[in-house]
C-alpha cells in the first residue's frame, strides 16, 4: 500500500491571469482509492485533468513512477478517464464504445472480443452489447463509460464527478459498485467529487481542497474527526465551530467556561478554534451541564432530530433521536474527547 506511484510536486495552473492551482504537493499510492474533494472552483477537476493530460501545468511536475510526464500527450499516458457526462460516442453501440481503445491499439480481433465481453460482463451489461448508448439509462451509460476506460487496463482510473448526473438511489448503488470494481481490478482510482458523503464512504484517502490549495489529506475518519481547520470542519458534515483559547495542554476555554480536552501541543493561551460535531452533544437537564440554553427549533430529519439551542453566546446545532419541546430550558453537555481543537485560520 505505501508504494508511492504518482507524485504531484508544486503543481500550479493559471487560466489567463487567474491562478486556479496554487502549488499542489501530493503523493498517490498504488492501489488506493483517492478522492479529491472540494467546492466547485477549488481546482480538483483541473488537478485531475492535468493527470489525464488534458491540461498542461503552468508550473511543477507530475511524476509517474518517478518519471515526469507533464509534457507527455494524453493519448500516450497509461491512465484512462471516466468523464462527468460519460462522453460516450453516440455513433457507436455499447460493444464498439468499449472496444474503441483496443481497436486504436490495433489488437487482435479475438482478443478484443474476449476482453470487451469480459468487461461488459463485469459491469453487468451482458445482453446490451448491440444496443445504442443513447437507449441506455444514466446508470447503464455510466457503466459503459467505466468499462470503456477499464478495458484498456490502465494503471490509474480517473473519475470526474461520474455520479453527479445520477439520482440519489442510483448514486448509492454506484458508490458500492465502484468500490467493488476498484477492489476487483486492483488499480489506483482518483475520484473527483464535491459530495462529502460520497468521498467519505468510498475513499481510502480524502484530499480536501479549497481555492487551489490542499487543506487536508487523510483517511475519511481523520478528515471527519480531526479536521485541521475551519474550512475542512465546515465542509465535511455539520459542525459547531467555536472560537476559543487554549489555556494550556488539555484545557480549552470558550463561552466563559474552561473545558477538559484531549488536545495538546498548542502554545499556552493560543487563539484556536474548536469543533464539536452535532451528534456528540447530549441535551440534559440545565443543572447537569456548564452551558445552558433554550431549544429554538426542532426539525425532524428521518433518523434524528436537528435541534438548534440558543445560548447567550451562540446557537448550537445538535443531532439527537430524542424530542425536545421548543422553548424548553436545556443543558448542553459533551465530553473531553468530543472537543476537537484546530489552529485558527488567518482568513475569514
Amino acid at each position: 500500500m505505501k508504494d508511492a506511484f504518482i507524485e504531484l510536486k508544486g503543481l500550479t495552473k493559471n487560466f489567463d491571469s487567474q491562478q486556479v492551482l496554487k502549488g499542489i504537493d501530493l503523493t498517490i499510492y498504488r492501489n488506493e482509492f483517492l478522492t479529491l474533494l472540494g467546492p466547485s472552483g477549488c481546482g480538483k477537476t483541473t488537478t485531475l485533468r492535468m493527470i489525464a493530460g488534458f491540461e498542461e501545468p503552468s508550473g511543477g511536475e507530475i511524476l509517474f513512477d518517478g518519471v515526469d510526464i507533464s509534457k507527455v500527450p494524453a493519448y500516450k499516458r497509461e491512465v484512462n478517464t471516466v468523464f462527468q457526462k460519460y462522453a460516450l460516442f453516440p455513433f457507436l453501440n455499447v460493444f464498439d464504445n468499449v472496444a474503441f481503445g483496443l481497436k486504436i491499439k490495433k489488437m487482435d480481433k479475438t482478443v478484443i472480443e474476449h476482453k470487451c465481453m469480459r468487461m461488459i460482463e463485469l459491469m453487468g451489461l451482458k445482453g446490451f452489447e448491440k444496443r445504442d448508448v443513447s437507449s441506455l439509462s444514466g446508470g447503464q451509460q455510466q457503466r459503459v463509460a467505466i468499462a470503456r476506460a477499464l478495458v484498456n487496463e490502465p494503471k490509474v482510473l480517473l473519475l470526474d464527478e461520474p455520479l453527479g448526473a445520477l439520482d440519489a438511489k442510483l448514486r448509492k448503488e454506484m458508490q458500492t459498485e465502484l468500490k467493488r470494481i476498484q477492489k476487483e481490478v486492483g488499480i489506483t482510482f482518483i475520484f473527483v467529487t464535491h459530495d462529502q458523503e460520497e468521498a467519505l464512504s468510498m475513499s481510502d484517502t480524502v484530499v480536501v481542497m479549497n481555492e487551489g490549495i490542499i487543506q487536508q489529506v487523510g483517511s475519511p475518519e481523520d478528515i471527519y474527526n480531526e479536521p485541521e481547520n475551519r474550512f475542512v470542519a465546515s465542509f465535511i458534515g455539520d459542525s459547531n465551530i467555536i472560537e476559543a483559547v487554549m489555556k494550556k495542554d488539555l484545557l480549552v476555554s470558550f463561552d466563559g467556561f474552561d473545558f477538559d480536552c484531549v488536545d495538546k501541543g498548542f502554545k499556552d493561551n493560543e487563539n484556536v478554534e474548536v469543533v464539536i460535531r452535532p451528534e456528540d452533544i447530549d441535551l440534559v437537564k440545565p443543572e447537569e451541564a456548564k452551558l445552558k440554553g433554550t431549544v429554538k427549533t426542532i426539525t425532524f430529519k428521518g433518523v434524528h432530530h436537528e435541534i438548534i439551542v440558543e445560548t447567550g453566546n451562540r446557537d448550537y446545532l445538535i443531532h439527537t433521536t430524542d424530542y425536545f419541546e421548543p422553548g424548553l430550558e436545556v443543558g448542553i453537555r459533551f465530553g473531553p474527547d468530543d472537543i476537537h481543537v484546530m489552529y485558527r485560520m488567518d482568513w475569514e
Binding site: 494524453a74 493519448y75 462522453a87 460516442f89 474503441f100 448508448v133
Partner: protein
C-alpha cells in the same frame, strides 16, 4: 389563434399565384404541343421522348458529371476550410464565417463577371504571369474556368453546415478519444469526421442543387457552346421558343432533384436512427 391564422390567407393566395400556378403550367406545357396558345393544345409524350435523343441526353450526362465533380471538389476544400475555422476562438470563428458568407451577399452575375476580369486573356492573372516572365495562358471558356466559378460560388453552402456540425461536437468526446489512446489523426477520422456526417450531407445536398441547375456560370465562363441542363432550358425558352420541350426538361430536372434530396434525407435519417 384562429384570429391569426386568417392573416396567412393573403400569403397563401400569393403563393398559389406565383409558385403553384406557374409550376402547374410547366407541367401542362410539358405534356402538350402547340406552343403558347392554350386554345388548341394536344396532349403528347413527345417532349419527354425528345430528351432521350443523344444530343440532349449528353447534356444531361455532362451536367450530372460536372455537378458530381464540382460537389466533390467543393467537399474537399469546404471540409478543410470548415475544420480549420473550428480551430480558432469562438470570436474569430464568427468573423471567419462572416468572411465566408460575404460573397453570398453579391449577385452571382457580378461575381462571375469578376472572374472574367481575372481569367480573361488580358485579365489580372495573365498580366501577373507576364510580369513574372511566364507565358500567358487561355483560361476562359475551359472546363477549369467553369469548375472554378462553380466551386467558388458553392463553397459557402458547403462550409457553413459542416462548420456548424463540427462546432457542435462535445469537446469531451475528443478528449475521450485522446484518453483512449487515439492521436490527432485517428481522433479526426474516428470521431470528428463521423460526428460531422450530417453537416456533410446537408452541404452536399445544397451544393448539388446549385451546381445542377446553374446556367449563368457556364454561360459566362464556359462560352456559348457550353451546354448544361440550365442553359438548355434557357435556350429552349428564350432563343428556340419551344416552351413545351423546355418545360419537359425542367420537370425532369425537378424530378431528379427531388429524388436526390429524398435519397439523401433517407440516408441521413438512417444515420440518425442508427445513432438514436
Amino acid at each position: 389563434m384562429k384570429h391569426f391564422t386568417r392573416l396567412v390567407r393573403p400569403y397563401i393566395v400569393w403563393m398559389v399565384l406565383i409558385v403553384v400556378l406557374p409550376l402547374l403550367l410547366i407541367v401542362l406545357y410539358s405534356f402538350t404541343t402547340g406552343g403558347n396558345e392554350l386554345v388548341n393544345i394536344r396532349f403528347t409524350l413527345d417532349n419527354f421522348k425528345k430528351i432521350g435523343e443523344p444530343i440532349y441526353f449528353d447534356v444531361f450526362k455532362k451536367s450530372m458529371l460536372l455537378g458530381i465533380v464540382s460537389v466533390l471538389i467543393c467537399l474537399v476544400f469546404g471540409y478543410t476550410l470548415a475544420y480549420m475555422i473550428t480551430k480558432y476562438s469562438e470570436k474569430a470563428q464568427n468573423f471567419l464565417i462572416l468572411l465566408v458568407t460575404i460573397p453570398m451577399w453579391i449577385n452571382t452575375l457580378l461575381r462571375t463577371y469578376a472572374w472574367i476580369s481575372i481569367l480573361s486573356d488580358n485579365g489580372l492573372l495573365n498580366r501577373l504571369l507576364v510580369l513574372l516572365g511566364l507565358e500567358p495562358a487561355t483560361m476562359m471558356y475551359t472546363d477549369a474556368a467553369v469548375m472554378l466559378g462553380l466551386v467558388s460560388d458553392m463553397l459557402p453552402f458547403m462550409v457553413i453546415p459542416i462548420h456548424t456540425s463540427i462546432r457542435k461536437i462535445d469537446k469531451s468526446l475528443i478528449e475521450a478519444s485522446h484518453d483512449l489512446g487515439a492521436g490527432n489523426f485517428q481522433t479526426f477520422w474516428q470521431v470528428i469526421f463521423k460526428m460531422s456526417i450530417p453537416g456533410v450531407i446537408n452541404g452536399v445536398m445544397m451544393t448539388f442543387l446549385l451546381s445542377i441547375s446553374t446556367f449563368v456560370i457556364p454561360k459566362l465562363l464556359g462560352g456559348g457552346q457550353y451546354m448544361l441542363i440550365g442553359n438548355l432550358i434557357e435556350t429552349q425558352f428564350i432563343s428556340v421558343g419551344n416552351w413545351n420541350f423546355g418545360s419537359a426538361i425542367s420537370i425532369l430536372l425537378t424530378l431528379l432533384i427531388v429524388i436526390g434530396i429524398s435519397l439523401m434525407k433517407k440516408f441521413d435519417r438512417e444515420e440518425k436512427e442508427e445513432n438514436g
